[in-house]
Amino acid sequence: METGSRTAAGKEMLKLDPRTKLAILITVGIIMMSGKLTGIEYILRLICTCVPFLLLISVKLYKTAVISALILFATVLCEGFVIPNTKGILNLMIMIICGVISRFGPGYICGWYVVRSTSVSEFVTVMERMHFPNIITIPMSVMFRYFPTLKEEYLSIRDAMKMREIGQSIKNPFTYIEYILVPIMMSTSQIANDLSAASLTKGLGAGRKRTHICSIGMTCIDYILIAAMAAMLVIFFVF
């Protein structure tokens, strides 16, 4: 699973505006993280559980979609129907396991979807449309590019550790982290240096207007989805 990359053209069935994606992410995050297990909030939670499934389907990751949907529904249903009927240690265990998965899982999947389905230039375009200053936009857009870089670096470092037969993570967690972090910081700061230099020679000047080749725009579906998200939040907070 690659993060930080837009899927190639034609791979997405539904192209959402990045603002819609953010609205979905925030709504699902809030409702799943803090929703109660009874009444209207529980129904909202059930609805939100479907969202990751639909998003994954829209980027054609059918297998991941089905598996994650099964897990998420199982945990949410457990919370609704099993937890009230159990007691003691069993109750506690189910509550902790289901709680962690159902509260963090959907938000995680939505976040992953946002990063994966939005290209750097789409992100920059939208941030500019929303009148964010460059000082915020540019570092954040570089972050997008950094996820896959970090992954590449991490994998090579892990290989190097295997060859040295050092840093077994279980025996010595702190040494392990040190051995991973030191080379990562060194090589990423080098990459960041080169990257800034390269961007400067391509005319990424502060405070200047840019044009964009990506077409970003709110469609009918975007408005419907944003309205739906707003409605859910209103219900969630009012009732």
């Binding site: 230039s121 896959p148 040295r164 390269a198 961007s199 391509k202």
Partner: protein, 506 residues
Amino acid sequence: MIEFSNVTFSYEAVRRDGENEEAAGVKDLNITVKDGEFLVLTGGSGCGKTTVIRLINGLIPAYYNGEMTGTVTLGGRNIRDMSIYDISGQVGSVFQNPRSQFFNVNTTDEMAFAAENRCLDPDEIKRTIKSTAVSMRIEDLLDRNIFELSGGEKQMVACAGINVLSPEIIVLDEPSSNLDHQAIKKLAGILRSWKEQGKTIIIAEHRLFYLKDLADRMLVMEGGRVTAEFGADKIPELSYERCEELGLRPFVLKEIPFMRKDEKKVCGSIELKDFNFTYKDKMHSISIPELEIPEGSITAVIGNNGAGKSTLVRNICGLEKRCKGIMRFRGKSLKPKGRLHNCYMIMQDVNHQLFTESVLDEVMLSMTDKSLGEDEKAKKAMDILIELGLDAVAEMHPMALSGGQKQRTAIASGLASEKEIIIFDEPTSGLDLHHMKLVADQMKRLKETGKTVFIVTHDYEFILRCCDRIIRVDKGMIGDEYDLNEKTVGKLLDFMNINDGGNENV
């Protein structure tokens, strides 16, 4: 026209990653580059050629700080009166490391990036990208994830980005360092088309063979000064011997003599059996039912990008647990885990395998023998460091060393772990003649101590210098394997497909 008059520049501080060597300044430089000229800058590491490039594309003084006297003018304007944004419209840059020159993740976005920054009309940009891709025959590289591309493909994307904006001046800083011969050929083709369009091209490079028919003029630099100059009429006369004298990589690879006489002593062999492996992305795989490699020799693993060279050595090394293959080595049958105990790989980017705070610690970290005390370990480590000429820097932080010293530190830790098979992944990429020779000598020393060495490489000159055996990987299978001697040199040269000096138009 670009004009340097009495330019002296020195960098303000030594960079902590030890690249001060590479980034040495320039002294009293007087260079005039005419419009439409193809100028090659060459010379050993630290000769100042990168600084010249940076003075032209505006990174000096905008990004790199230092002290500068004299003037550099672009088309009559002093660069000090221009912002880097102004310069970036006139000068396009291609950098050495394809990994770190892209701002975007998507290739099409990256090609558009410079043009977007100049506020060109989006529809116009899209049209230009399309026509550029067609003329460069890289339609298949559009709308891809940068992280899935090979080094050669990334350099193609960088060149395409320049074509979209089409500046009058193009500077390139060692663009071929990470490329195989096929990719270099493509690069030469692009350079040719730029030359035909009348662009002014300034290229800093160690590997000269692909520039033979392109260069109008070549400047050899040393210690920040120009020490020799050759016009288009003189470049074809530069023989292998003359290049060697000047400390340069040769212009014509065919001329490199094969001069090794060392008798080969084969004491045993390493056998690989059933090396079948496919990555999860199903893109790269190898299938090698049987392969025999003489023990105690230096084997070059060659092949085009994506042929499976890295996959093969990763499997030999035991880094892929799912590989069911067996390696027979000194009477033992080794599975991946066992191979990890016996093999050590020096990666292309050695920064990934240096973990500790001093060179000595780095070497001691590899000594897993519990019967040794700390003092004994330190003594043994020092012996290894002396052998590799690293004793003077034993207390330094590995990250403060030069590239070559880092590589030797990694070798030292491989030696300390007493592994018998040492694998190198492109150890000479981006090295000048002098440093390449040092690495070749290092390989020979490893062989003398009885180690078996594998080298993944594209460097023909380097292979001639030290390798005994060639394994050519093709589409995940062994395409060819032979001992390197007078008779087989021609075969190797044919594969490298460079008899023509890389002047074929692609």
